[in-house]
Symmetry: C5
Subunit: 111 residues, 5 copies
Amino acid sequence: MLLGTVVGQVWATRKEATLNGLRLLVIQPYLKGGGDSAETIVAVDPIGVDVGERVLVVYGRAARHAIGRGHDIGFQSAIVAVVDGAEIAGDSVGQTAETDRRSGAKPGRKT
Amino acid sequence: MLLGTVVGQVWATRKEATLNGLRLLVIQPYLKGGGDSAETIVAVDPIGVDVGERVLVVYGRAARHAIGRGHDIGFQSAIVAVVDGAEIAGDSVGQTAETDRRSGAKPGRKT
Amino acid sequence: MLLGTVVGQVWATRKEATLNGLRLLVIQPYLKGGGDSAETIVAVDPIGVDVGERVLVVYGRAARHAIGRGHDIGFQSAIVAVVDGAEIAGDSVGQTAETDRRSGAKPGRKT
Amino acid sequence: MLLGTVVGQVWATRKEATLNGLRLLVIQPYLKGGGDSAETIVAVDPIGVDVGERVLVVYGRAARHAIGRGHDIGFQSAIVAVVDGAEIAGDSVGQTAETDRRSGAKPGRKT
Amino acid sequence: MLLGTVVGQVWATRKEATLNGLRLLVIQPYLKGGGDSAETIVAVDPIGVDVGERVLVVYGRAARHAIGRGHDIGFQSAIVAVVDGAEIAGDSVGQTAETDRRSGAKPGRKT
């Protein structure tokens, strides 16, 4: 599973039928120390997450289970949790990067 | 799922029989900030995408479902969506890099 | 399988139902020579591991087996072993980085 | 699927029984712009490819299908196509790097 | 499949029951040109390999097949071959890095 931040959304009209009605969110993986990853992944969102929130993303069978539509689906990654907070290597990671800023915490620094 | 741009096409005569009749497109992964990835992946195209268009790519079972030929196929990645647009970390990403240029937007910059 | 160190924990209230009651630990992959990886992965912990301990992490079916809840689960990685020690390229790797320090060993150096 | 160049071969006497009689080729992934990747992968070759040729490689179920021996096999990647040519980001990529040189084209440059 | 060198071993007392009795080896991926990768993977060893030997490693179903215990196992990677030698991009790669040195060959250089 991957810890990341929702940084955006993708819209598509021409698509696999099983993608209809699903939100497609862009997630940036979390790097220890608060660094900024250039890579992103796209995951479907069955929970209703806002841009900026920190989430857990899964792939494959776990993603199919999270969406609950059986095996024959045309996607492979899904959000399975909205993170309330985390403690990583002595650093506090809040629900959003915005929360970190308002609390005076630098991303990747212990508050 | 991976967000990327179709940057080319591959032709092959000697190949696994289940690849017959399928277009093989080369996709470059999207990097946040508009950077240029050297890595590429090859995916089959059941939708009919043009070079330059931005797409979503899936692997494994999701790719087999998108092509609709059951389990016994000799490929593993497929295009499942043509992207109309995206908002990523405050940047607008258009349907193609060309669209971004014509609208005066720099790739990776908000228009 | 991946050798890594438990560097933290994630808490989440809104989540896939099959994640209820499972600890979500953040693991940093081991790098040869004792270097520090910025990437992390999140795995469920069926063993009861402490932050700082070195562990083995698996993905997919092996993770589902380790948790013992069959196929329909919304996660994909799990801790399957707590490492007592390792010898890697002539270096001794202890149960925790703390153990390495107390024994006067530098991480990634033979004691 | 991965586009790459066959750069070598591996020989092994002590091995999983299902690897008997299969050629094990070393493939270097293609990088956009003609760069040189240090990473390699090893794939079985059911087609009969020469060193220097450009190929498509698949993993997992697609590889098992390409070899045609059902599910119980001890390998995971296979060559499924020999590339005749490709157009990638305006560059022509020939059947081999040698072809590119004889035609006066620099790898990664349009001929 | 991955070509790599066995660089160490891991010991664990608290572990998934299906790991009992299996050797856990640490493998460093081969880099073209003889470079030194910091990343490592851990694989079970059904063959009886020594530290220093070059091996092929597989993941997932292929690993389960190599161990021969069916599907319900708590690991995901296994060694399936001990490499006698390889020719990669004109370089000879011996059975061990030690062999390369005794023959006067620099790792990654043709002998």
